[in-house]
């Protein structure tokens, strides 16, 4: 009866369009639009490409496949010529046949097409007119190209976290361009040809954080979502309007009609200004999609929790923390009246909970046949949260006590996952798995593969890949049924995360790992778990999502990184999408981009919100195309490059070997700096020369080599290594950069000087310090921000005022060794410090674990391992690394 009710719900929701239209989409900012309709209900022009939409691929619209087109050979000489007085060589006939763009009224919209045989200077003038004046920009470029001898310049770290490089675009375009937090390219100047890209020896790719929490997002409700008819690109700020009735797609250059509805601008309430529409004014917009974008009525939010209740789990005490956290956040779970929830627990058997409305207490059903596990009853295992709230609360209160005396040490994770799949397949939704040990029973059982003696070996690390394809297959099944699986691993022993993580990796879930979790003995982990759960349970979620990334004709994406399943060449299937996951893609240049001055990238994420609305979030990024190697170097975004390299290195270490991956990373630096040296004739031959834009490259690569994921020689548990790999693959760029190269500040002597004044609080801005023990002094206290963990290192002779005012202890000796937070004291010192820390945390979604590290405590190794510029037993110091690179270059 419950399911039929649900079905009716779904139906009524779906079948009355007025219902959908009347629901106000709350604009997140005042000036954006919430509702746009035109009076006429004209037929949509956005019908799917294929007549019968039988999959999400066709709903979202097929991508532009550039493969069918003849690619003209590169129009740039293979040999590098000096940057001036350089002519285009004889063009290949095919090149000249490339379609000439129509005369374009606006110079900045990609109408730039140098005819062949043009001297460089002329190209430059054209280019400068196309890019809206280079005068201010060339200075900036000169600065990013300034050669630096890395061996001599010690202080290469900027005083503050450096902002990403600004693409060299006209002001109009720059203003509307996508935020670098959402969308970043490793090269902000896109090279014209693959040959030029190869010459620069830098990877070309995008880093995306598409579902990021935004404070400002224009939401558009409109009958027609205007898209290019051939490549299905959404209309965006970088298209050009040929006249009032026609626009030219900036990705495939097709000329499209402007639909009638689009002529009306609901912001200004005027007619005939299509270029003032919000879609054309913002590079990040969200559309409320019509039923064209649905295969079935939008699914409700469905949450299933799969809890390990074996002896090991009970011992760690996570169940208490989890149940309490869920009880606290039950109201805040994203969803609407249709939200469903269910619980399954497992040890050597699988337990279900009947939460049917009307029962006096939850009813537990045990299935002990784990070889052929089945669902005991079909109706009331996933129940409407609203209707059965009391029962759910009862269950959550009772659960921690139910298994206190269990003797069951086995864990049948595989069968439990199989039933979770069976339970969820009719609707899709999110499965949260809490596991505390190696699965030992039933399908998907695993053996321990780690040899503790090899943890610190400098030779190859084995078992980085999965041991069985069971979890991968299950994940793909789940992905097909729109089920996302998130894995929380709370284990002190080896649990083969490399295999288990597959279940999340390919179903677009997330992996959380709490090594040696214990609710009493490990307070820092408990607090982190609590805060992570708080965020996890309440954060936004999108269901049955797909994402497609389109790029300008000529560019093509060949490799994807992140947690998802690549269903077809450019379509990522994301059963769940969450605001904390990042993605990366690698691209190649298949056709010369010589006939355009701008390259654009569009990521469209189609998802069902927790309120049952189908929405499309579209981000568009626009970057200039350049023809000179020096310009490519000038536009290099070193943070993005490092993140992409990290992703590539991890793929390499799994498919080939860890040492291969490490060598490849070093070679990336060597090749790139060699390419730079070969390019510039005017720089001194001695020393290790890098352009200013790439000065941090060796440092970041060294930091990567010292990451848990990629390091050798230092004792690293296999699970921790694999978790670090998962993090590097699925976190957004900011988070990865914090992990790879943490921020170090001295905070015991922060002054108001140069402080930031926000609202009424004063936030001091201590300068960033290099990650070396040289910068530490015994008299100081230093804060290290590693993204998911923060250390406050207190020196032996630290100012007692600081210890007293900020940490609340009289002197250094009385400081406990396991402090995990800063007390809220009413002193200026304390307020200033806390203001600074909370400012650091502002943009962060997961609360980091906090450790106060005393100089003499045993925990200090965990702090010192992040000082990447220092020498360790098995790894280079920064200076040694530079010498090594130099040596490799001279080979």
């Amino acid at each position: 009866c419950n399911t039929t009710k649900r079905k009716e719900n779904v139906k009524s929701h779906h079948m009355t369009p007025s219902n959908i239209l009347q629901e106000k989409t709350v604009p997140l900012n005042g000036n954006s639009i919430s509702q746009i309709y035109s009076g006429d209900s004209s037929s949509t022009t956005t019908g799917s490409a294929s007549p019968v939409p039988n999959s999400y691929e066709s709903l979202e619209g097929g991508g532009y496949s550039g493969t069918s087109l003849q690619s003209p050979p590169a129009g740039v000489p293979a040999k590098q010529a000096p940057p001036f007085g350089y002519n285009y060589p004889t063009m290949h006939p095919a090149y000249q046949q490339s379609p000439a763009p129509k005369p374009d009224p606006s110079p900045s919209h990609g109408g730039y097409n140098p005819p062949g045989y043009q001297p460089y200077s002329q190209v430059l003038t054209l280019l400068s007119s196309a890019l809206g004046g280079l005068s201010g920009v060339s200075e900036l470029e000169a600065e990013t190209l300034r050669p630096m001898n890395l061996l001599q310049e010690r202080n290469i770290l900027p005083p503050k976290r450096a902002p990403p490089p600004e693409p060299n675009l006209s002001n109009d375009l720059r203003k509307v361009n996508c935020s670098p937090d959402t969308f970043r390219c490793t090269l902000t100047n896109i090279p014209q040809t693959q040959a030029l890209l190869n010459k620069a020896r830098l990877p070309l790719g995008l880093l995306l954080h598409p579902f990021r929490d935004l404070t400002q997002l224009p939401v558009i409700t409109s009958n027609t979502i205007v898209r290019c008819r051939s490549c299905r690109t959404y209309i965006n700020p970088f298209v050009s309007f040929l006249d009032q009735r026609r626009w030219k797609c900036n990705l495939c250059y097709r000329v499209n009609d402007v639909p009638d509805e689009f002529m009306y601008n609901p912001v200004t309430r005027s007619y005939g200004e299509p270029h003032k529409r919000p879609e054309v004014q913002n590079s990040t917009v969200e559309f409320i999609a019509s039923s064209d974008y649905m295969l079935r009525p939008p699914q409700p939010a469905v949450y299933l929790f799969l809890l390990d209740v074996s002896h090991n789990a009970v011992e760690s005490g996570y169940l208490n923390v989890f149940c309490q956290s869920l009880l606290d956040n039950l109201e805040k779970l994203p969803g609407d009246t249709r939200t469903h929830i269910g619980f399954v627990t497992f040890d050597s058997t699988v337990h279900f909970y009947n939460l049917q409305e009307g029962l006096s207490q939850p009813q537990m059903l045990v299935v002990s046949d784990i070889d052929d596990v089945f669902i005991p009853t079909h109706d009331s295992l996933l129940v409407n949260l609203k209707e059965s709230k009391e029962l759910v609360k009862d269950l959550l209160n009772a659960l921690p006590g139910m298994f206190t005396h269990t003797r069951e040490t086995q864990s049948a994770l595989g069968p439990a996952l199989q039933v979770a799949y069976k339970l969820m397949s009719p609707t899709g939704g999110r499965v949260s798995v809490f596991q505390t040990q190696l699965p030992t029973l039933g399908a998907g059982l695993l053996q321990s593969r780690e040899d503790p003696n090899l943890r610190s070996s400098t030779k190859n690390v084995q078992h980085l890949g999965p041991a069985t394809d069971f979890y991968k297959k299950l994940a793909l099944d789940c992905s097909g049924q729109q089920i996302g699986v998130d894995l929380f691993l709370l284990s002190s022993q080896y649990s083969d995360l490399a295999t288990l993580a597959c279940v999340s990796k390919y179903s677009a879930g997330g992996v959380f790992y709490y090594p040696s979790f214990h609710h009493i003995h490990n307070t820092a982990q408990r607090q982190k778990f609590q805060k992570d759960l708080q965020r996890y349970l309440t954060r936004k979620i999108g269901f049955e999502a797909v994402m497609r990334i389109r790029c300008t004709k000529g560019l093509s994406i060949h490799t994807f990184h992140g947690n998802f399943f690549v269903r077809s060449t450019d379509l990522l299937s994301l059963a769940n999408v969450n605001p904390d996951s990042g993605f990366a893609v690698q691209m190649s240049i298949e056709e010369s981009l010589a006939d355009t001055s701008l390259a654009c990238f569009q990521a469209a994420l189609l998802y069902t919100s927790s309120k049952g609305k189908r929405r499309i979030r579209v981000h568009t990024l626009c970057l200039p195309v350049v023809s000179q190697l020096s310009e490519v170097f000038a536009g290099a975004d070193i943070q993005a490059i490092s993140c992409l390299l990290a992703n590539m290195a991890i793929d390499r270490s799994i498919s080939s070997s860890l040492s291969d991956a490490r060598d490849a990373l070093v070679n990336a630096v060597v090749d790139c700096l060699t390419a730079y040296r070969a390019n510039g004739s005017n720089i001194q031959p001695s020393g290790l020369i890098a352009p200013a834009a790439l000065r941090l490259f060796p440092l970041y690569v060294l930091a990567l080599l010292k990451q848990k994921a990629l390091r050798t020689g230092t004792s690293t548990r296999l699970d921790e290594r694999v978790f670090s790999m998962c993090e590097l693959k699925s976190q957004p760029l900011q988070q990865i950069m914090h992990m790879v190269h943490p921020d170090l500040y001295r905070i015991d002597n922060m002054t108001e000087l140069a402080a930031l004044h926000l609202n009424d609080s004063v936030i001091p801005q201590p300068p960033l310090l290099q990650l070396t023990a040289e910068k530490l002094t015994r008299e100081g206290a230093f804060l290290m921000d590693c993204g998911s963990v923060m250390y406050l290192w207190v020196g032996k002779c630290c100012n007692e005022m600081f210890i007293c005012d900020v940490l609340g202890f009289p002197n250094y000796a009385s400081l406990p060794s396991n402090m995990t937070e800063i007390p809220e004291l009413q002193t200026t010192y304390s307020e200033r410090t806390r203001a600074f820390i909370s400012w650091l945390l502002e943009s962060r979604t997961f609360h980091p674990a906090f450790h106060v590290v005393k100089d003499d405590a045993s925990t200090k190794t965990s702090f010192f391992q992040h000082l990447v510029e220092d020498r360790t037993e098995s790894a280079f110091s920064y200076y040694e690394f530079l010498l090594h690179v130099q040596q490799q270059m001279s080979k």
């Binding site: 691929e57 490399a498 269903r567």
Partner: protein, 139 residues
């Protein structure tokens, strides 16, 4: 005897040609988004072992009938098939893995491989045909 060997290897070769064509068609279907990676890979993985056996059969036939040239021609292909099968990582779902086929240009290299094999099998086909006719005439 000689003729029987070549007739059977001809049949074997036909089967291999059909398989290669099937691989190419399925892979290009994937390229054009007509089928998804999951079904493409499960289709193809089913035929990896039969292909390997057929190839091994041809090789062994040539070995036992002591046709050294054709044997040496077949050996690298057979060993490549075996190597490829043995080298599949534990966690992968077969030679063709749906989660990786779209990454790192794997689809392209699979396609290339299938093309090369098709060419090779066609070559073999004519060699067998010629040898068979020769054998029949000699009989």
């Amino acid at each position: 005897m000689e003729a029987a060997v070549f007739i059977s290897s001809l049949v074997d070769c036909c089967a291999l040609i059909f398989l290669s064509v099937y691989f190419i068609i399925t892979l290009s279907d994937l390229e054009c988004d007509y089928i998804n990676a999951r079904s493409c890979c499960s289709k193809l993985n089913k035929w990896v072992i039969p292909e390997m056996i057929a190839q091994a059969l041809a090789t062994v036939l040539m070995l036992v009938s002591m046709h050294w040239f054709v044997f040496l021609l077949n050996l690298p292909v057979a060993s490549w098939d075996v190597y490829r099968y043995v080298k599949v990582p534990l966690g992968n779902m077969g030679v063709y893995d749906p989660t990786e086929i779209h990454n790192r240009g794997q689809l392209k290299s699979h396609m290339k491989e299938a093309m090369i094999k098709l060419g090779f099998h066609l070559l073999c086909f004519f060699i067998y045909l010629y040898s068979m006719i020769l054998a029949l005439i000699n009989d």
